[in-house]
Symmetry: C2
Subunit: 284 residues, 2 copies
């Protein structure tokens, strides 16, 4: 997905929010905003927004000296989501359509995204999403592809959400490789976070090689590229990965909540809609 | 009022919104955002936010060649507010406290502010504000000062709101000078707009000399400075004028709706609160 004009003021808000996670020093926060402001002229409108997110995050680290400003909040999110994990498992066990319920729970986990400025309350939002209709619902295609697949590549998004991903991974009943970011970037899931979330108990964790808050094919490692190209089924979680992969040259199933008006408009849905979208590669 | 960190992303949003009033050319809008982004390093945190607004507006004019992007929307607001003017006069005529009702209507007019990103509906909001309690209510002090005053300086804010100001000016029953911006800036009231709003029928229009979306004492003309220093009663409308005059060295009564979280926090009220605040000069 390209950059839209409205993404640019949003980048400034993200810079301030990320900066505040690392410092309360007003002079440093002002400098972060100055550097982010100066960055705008280098952002092409063809840039994937998540790539800009990576640059902003680098500015924050450089100015504050803090490499992982979301460290504590990520740990907190893992604690909080693990506390409700047994309840999530019970919900799936009692559901008529266990796979669909697990998908909805995995999307509910996508609420935990500090890169987008909305308040959240885990339990309330899980319940809301369980009763919510999809804005895009390519579930039949998903089930068909899953049935035919011998293996799954599952591209993780945020920490905390990663605990919810475990529910869906179990419901898939296939060997799963779970891709993580190469370094801490916003609250995105790294190898360490995936282990702390218990993903290693249900999947093989793989490093995407990506340093952006979203997998961008050109930036990923050759090993991940090979996996991405050859996996029978690819599941991509969240907005950042959607931004990076929405133009990719293979089938991908996107699971996300359209948390900003720009993504919602791009997808042709209302803001806040939950999405299970089959991306099909069309040759130009 | 100084600049807060949160004002900076908001400046970017204002740049985009003002730019879109003037052009739909994405390349020009991107350039407006680039120039505004580059401007951030020149903004001291001691700057009055409205002064930054003036710079952003200058960028928009420079890049688009449009000197008055809000021209049509201002005319539309004058037409719409004039259409409900007789209804506003009836409301005041039937009120127990005519002055207070006129004050509330004048504040309701402050909703019409395209510099702040909220949807509005005139009639609905007038009715809401008429039944709303004040966040700050220095009405006794205001009445006392009005009674003692032989003349009033009334500092206008937005076009359309200017039609509502006419209601309050009539209710004051004193000779009023109505101060306007020196040039078109966002949707702020200029001499021409004040005349089109019918202000010339109830007050003497004066030019503040200010080119910012808010009167800033240091930028105003000597003639306005003289008026400001010597007027018996000064009424200042809206956020922009509050930003410019909240630290001034005389008594001022501020009438506004706290439309953004920063102003609300600064005033110690909830966002959306309506304000009648007496500013008293305290020597350092």
């Amino acid at each position: 997905m390209r950059t839209y004009l409205d993404c640019i003021p949003c980048v400034m808000q993200q810079a301030l929010r990320a900066g505040r996670m690392a410092t309360s020093d007003e002079a440093k926060l002002k400098l972060i905003l100055e550097k982010t402001g100066a960055l705008i002229k280098t952002i092409s409108m063809e840039t994937i927004p998540a790539a800009t997110g990576a640059k902003v995050y680098h500015i924050v680290s450089e100015i504050t000296g803090v490499k992982d400003p979301y460290k504590e909040i990520k740990q907190q999110h893992i604690r909080e989501t693990k506390a409700i994990y047994p309840e999530l498992e019970r919900i799936v066990a009692n559901a008529d359509d266990k796979l669909l319920t697990a998908i909805k729970i995995a999307i509910a986990g996508n609420i935990i995204d500090l890169g987008v400025n909305k308040a959240f309350d885990i339990v309330t939002d899980v319940k809301t999403i369980l009763s919510q209709d999809f804005g895009i619902f390519d579930y039949p295609a998903f089930k068909k592809q899953l049935d035919q697949s011998k293996n799954v590549l599952y591209i993780g998004d945020n920490v905390g959400e990663s605990v919810f991903d475990k529910i869906l991974i179990k419901a898939l009943k296939k060997p799963v490789k779970y891709a993580v970011r190469a370094i801490p970037i916003i609250n995105d899931v790294t190898w360490q976070d995936a282990v702390a979330s218990g993903i290693d108990q249900v999947a093989t964790i793989v490093d995407s090689g990506c340093k952006s808050p979203g997998v961008i094919p050109e930036e990923s490692s050759p090993a991940f590229g090979e996996l991405f190209d050859t996996a029978d089924l690819v599941i991509s979680k969240g907005q950042g990965n959607f931004e990076g992969l929405s133009g990719c040259n293979r089938q991908v199933f996107f699971l996300l909540k359209a948390k900003c008006s720009i993504i919602a408009h791009h997808l042709g849905v209302k803001e806040g809609a939950i999405i299970l979208k089959e991306h099909i590669y069309k040759e130009a």
